[in-house]
């Protein structure tokens, strides 16, 4: 049981797809303009990851090695198309605001990456845990980026129920008059991500230096 939790934790923190592995940045940077988008995209990616990881690890012994990549792609594309249909039917507002980035999940490298490096080598349950961990890690990273961008870019934070666009869960506005709208632009996404990565790297370096000091003593 503990190793399953470790797999999940691994995806959220130690091997966070956005902050540590820097995978799937295109869609992450593009849609992280609001918390609602982040949650919606996070759910979509998590769902696709779970479906593709579980299916691929179930049939991993049946797929001939030579054609495993095309088979993975077909499975992932099917999962994404299913998500697209479901979102169009049940979350039309989110479907509109995420736009072209939903079909683009097909080419999101997190999904193919996990299929190739984890699901094709591990058991179904482990792959499921990995998918949940990676999905949550992706969602968490999106939430952090979009919270910063929305707060500074629009001067407030809001969250709308992804399943019902008319139901606002919360909406605050703090300093609307001095919001920096650059942060809502794509360049703002790069700046935000750069700052977060610099901070994480700073922490990691500090830890390494401390360990080295300890060894010297």
């Amino acid at each position: 049981m503990k190793d399953k939790l470790n797999i999940i934790k691994n995806g959220i923190i130690k091997e966070n797809p956005i902050f540590i592995m820097l995978l799937g940045l295109c869609s992450a940077l593009a849609i992280s303009t609001s918390l609602t988008n982040a949650v919606g995209m996070g759910m979509a990616v998590t769902f696709v990851l779970i479906m593709s990881n579980v299916i691929i690890s179930t049939i991993r012994h049946l797929i001939p090695d030579e054609i495993r990549i095309p088979v993975f792609i077909v499975i992932i594309a099917t999962a994404v198309k299913c998500v697209q249909f479901l979102m169009n039917a049940y979350t039309p507002a989110l479907y509109t605001s995420l736009g072209v980035f939903i079909p683009l999940i097909v080419v999101n490298c997190i999904i193919l990456g996990r299929a190739e490096s984890f699901a094709s080598k591990n058991s179904v349950i482990d792959s499921l845990c990995d998918a949940i961990g990676m999905g949550l890690g992706y969602t968490l990273a999106l939430l952090i980026i979009s919270a910063i961008r929305e707060l500074i870019g629009t001067g407030g934070l809001s969250f709308v129920n992804p399943f019902n666009a008319t139901q606002t869960i919360f909406r605050f506005s703090f300093f609307k008059s001095c919001a920096i709208s650059l942060l809502t632009q794509p360049s703002g996404a790069f700046i935000t991500l750069g700052c977060i990565l610099a901070y994480l790297q700073h922490r990691r370096l500090k830890k390494v230096i401390e360990i080295q000091k300890g060894e010297r003593k």
């Binding site: 001939p64 088979v71 039917a89 072209v100």
Partner: protein, 178 residues
């Protein structure tokens, strides 16, 4: 040779199962999507032309314009108030569908997008915002409409579509007077 056959069969099998699953999900969700779209269009037709009581679909000359999907005559108290066009043009990433309303005196009465999901969020998708609406609504049909800076491809496509709607509108008018 044998292994190639085997690989082909496995791949075909995977593709077939995927196709079957997709068609199942499609059949499951399509009625909901269609109903939602229809309801949204109904709401948009009334919101784009407030005061319109009845929307009558007309098909005259429509086949001459590839961009016009539907045309509705707006009727109020048995007189024609204006026209609402449903347009579908090629934007940057794919089809952009929207409604444009013209009233009987030749003024753009309304503009509303239906589907801009093919356009890049934050760029082409700006044709769905009030920014674009402000450039269209209230203008005379003779005046030139400006594209949006930074979303030129999508907004020019939208404007070319509006021009088509105007051309069709004038054909309807011309047809009536002769």
């Amino acid at each position: 040779m044998k292994s190639i056959m085997k690989l082909g069969i496995v791949l075909a099998l995977v593709a077939a199962i995927s196709g079957g699953m997709l068609s199942y999900v499609y059949n499951l969700t399509n009625p909901i999507i269609e109903a939602a779209n229809l309801q949204r269009r109904e709401e948009q037709l009334t919101s784009i032309y407030d005061g319109g009581e009845e929307f009558v679909e007309i098909t005259d000359y429509i086949d001459q314009f590839s961009t016009i999907t539907n045309c509705f005559k707006v009727v109020k108290d048995n007189t024609v108030e204006g026209y609402v066009y449903q347009m579908s043009v090629n934007g940057y990433g794919g089809k952009v569908t929207y409604l444009v309303a013209l009233d009987e005196s030749g003024i753009y009465k309304g503009y509303e997008t239906i589907d801009v999901t093919t356009e890049t969020s934050g760029f082409g998708s700006r044709v769905a915002t009030d920014e674009m609406k402000a450039k269209v609504i209230g203008k005379d049909i003779g005046s030139k409409l400006d594209a949006l800076t930074g979303a030129t491809i999508t907004s020019s496509a939208v404007i070319r579509g509006i021009d088509d709607a105007v051309a069709h509108y004038q054909m309807l008018k011309g047809g009536k007077s002769s």
